[in-house]
Structure formats: structure tokens, C-alpha cells
Amino acid sequence: MAINFNNALGIHPQALSLREQRGEILAANLANADTPDYKARDLDFSSVLQQTLQSEPRINKTNVGHMEASNSVLGADLLYRNPHQASLDGNTVEAHVEQAKYAENAVQYQASLRFINNKFAGLMSAIRGE
């Protein structure tokens, strides 16, 4: 019986990669906290999961000139954040909200990492047969 890494690891590698992307987006939000007209953005995890489960065909970019399909981040649309208190210069970044989301995302990343590590540990003990 061959070990299939895709089956063995489940959804966790995708989750890890999504969380990495989300971290990047939240970091961009925080970096642009003082940029006029910048709109804070975020990903919706459940819509990514939905897309992954439906396994719709993905379009690959093979040329720089190609326009991006509307769903590019692992099948999830990037959404705009609804600010609690919009500022006058059109910036919708609220540092406390972004910080909380970033911390949440970091913890989720660590959770995904832990899941993968445990899967690997399981595989290792199966291979060793101890």
C-alpha cells in the first residue's frame, strides 16, 4: 500500500498556504495604515473551503500579460473590510482590528502547522513500524 501524501495530509497544506497569504494581506493593511484612500482587505476562509471542496478547474497564468481570473487566492475573492469608523481620508484600516486579525491568523497558522507536523509524525511511526 503506497502512502499518498495528498490523502495523508488532508486539507492542512492548503490551509497553511491560505493562512500565509492572509498574513501577507493583513500585513499590507497594517503597513498602509496611514495611506490615504487605502481600503483594508481580507479573505473569507469558508469561501476558500467551499471552492476547494467543489474542486473547480483553476486557470493558470502562463504569461505576465494574462489577466488574473477573478478568483486568484486559492479560489477566494479578496473582500473589502467594512470599517467601524471610516476616516476622512478614505482609509479603512483600523489598526486594532487588523492587529487582532493578524494575531488570530498567526495562531491559526501555528495550528495548521501543528496538524501537519502530527501527520508527519504519524507517517514516520507507520514507516518505522515501531
Partner: protein, 138 residues
């Protein structure tokens, strides 16, 4: 490795806030630089930030750093003060003081330093996560 993007993004944010701090320092230190004509007087300098767009066609490309478009001088009128005994006074007896609002600058400084801290925090967290990822499976 795409997660290294986060270093560029947070780095550009720190760079922008650092410039802002520099300008605050320049404004505050020149707040009392008196001059004897309107066009020589120091004017408050402010940075202009914009989001760095990597690919304008890509509406999902959100991860953008901060671009510093430049530094503008405040258009507020400098303060004219009648002080005929001042050594810098012009022939009408006026001296000109910069349009720097020190209270505003102090608030600006606090905001810049907090934003800088946020970026450092983001960078530290990202670094820890990447280091943990490198140890995956061990």
C-alpha cells in the same frame, strides 16, 4: 518563497513611518527658525503615502507595500510677527516664523511611532512563523 513578501511589505511600512518621523524631527527642530523674508522661511514638510500596486490589472492583488510619493510643504501661511528690534527684521520691522504646528507634530510623532511598532510586530510574528515552518516534520 512567497512568505518572504511580508518582510518587504512591513519593511516598506517601516520605511514610510521612518520618513514621517524624520520630517517631524525636522519640523519641530525648525519650529523657531526665524527668517527675514516670506520666501526664505521654513515651511512645515509632510510626506505623501500611496499603496504600492504590483499589478494594476489584478484586483485580487492586495498585498501591497507603502510607496512614498514625495514630500510636500504645507501651504498654510507662515506667521508674520512685528518685531522691529529683532536683528532679522525686514525694512518694515517684520520677522517670519515657520507655519509648524508643534502640537500637531507631536501627535504625528506618536502616530508614526505606533505605526512603526505595529510593523515591527508583524515582522517578528512572520519571522517566527517562517522559522517554525522550516522545522516542519522534525
Amino acid at each position: 518563497m512567497s512568505s518572504l513578501n511580508i518582510f518587504d511589505i512591513a519593511g516598506s511600512g517601516m520605511n514610510a513611518q521612518n520618513l514621517r518621523l524624520n520630517l517631524v524631527a525636522s519640523n519641530i527642530s525648525n519650529a523657531n527658525s526665524v527668517s527675514s523674508s516670506l520666501d526664505q522661511v521654513y515651511r512645515s514638510r509632510q510626506p505623501v503615502f500611496a499603496a504600492e500596486l504590483q499589478n494594476i490589472m489584478d484586483k485580487n492583488d492586495a498585498a501591497s507595500g507603502v510607496d512614498v510619493l514625495g514630500v510636500v510643504e504645507s501651504q498654510a501661511p507662515p506667521i508674520m510677527e512685528y518685531a522691529p528690534q529683532h536683528p532679522m527684521a525686514d525694512e518694515l520691522g517684520y520677522i517670519y516664523k515657520p507655519n509648524v504646528n508643534t502640537v500637531e507634530e507631536m501627535a504625528n510623532m506618536m502616530s508614526a511611532s505606533r505605526a512603526y511598532e505595529n510593523n515591527v510586530e508583524v515582522l517578528n510574528t512572520a519571522k517566527n512563523l517562517i522559522l517554525q515552518t522550516l522545522k516542519m516534520g522534525q
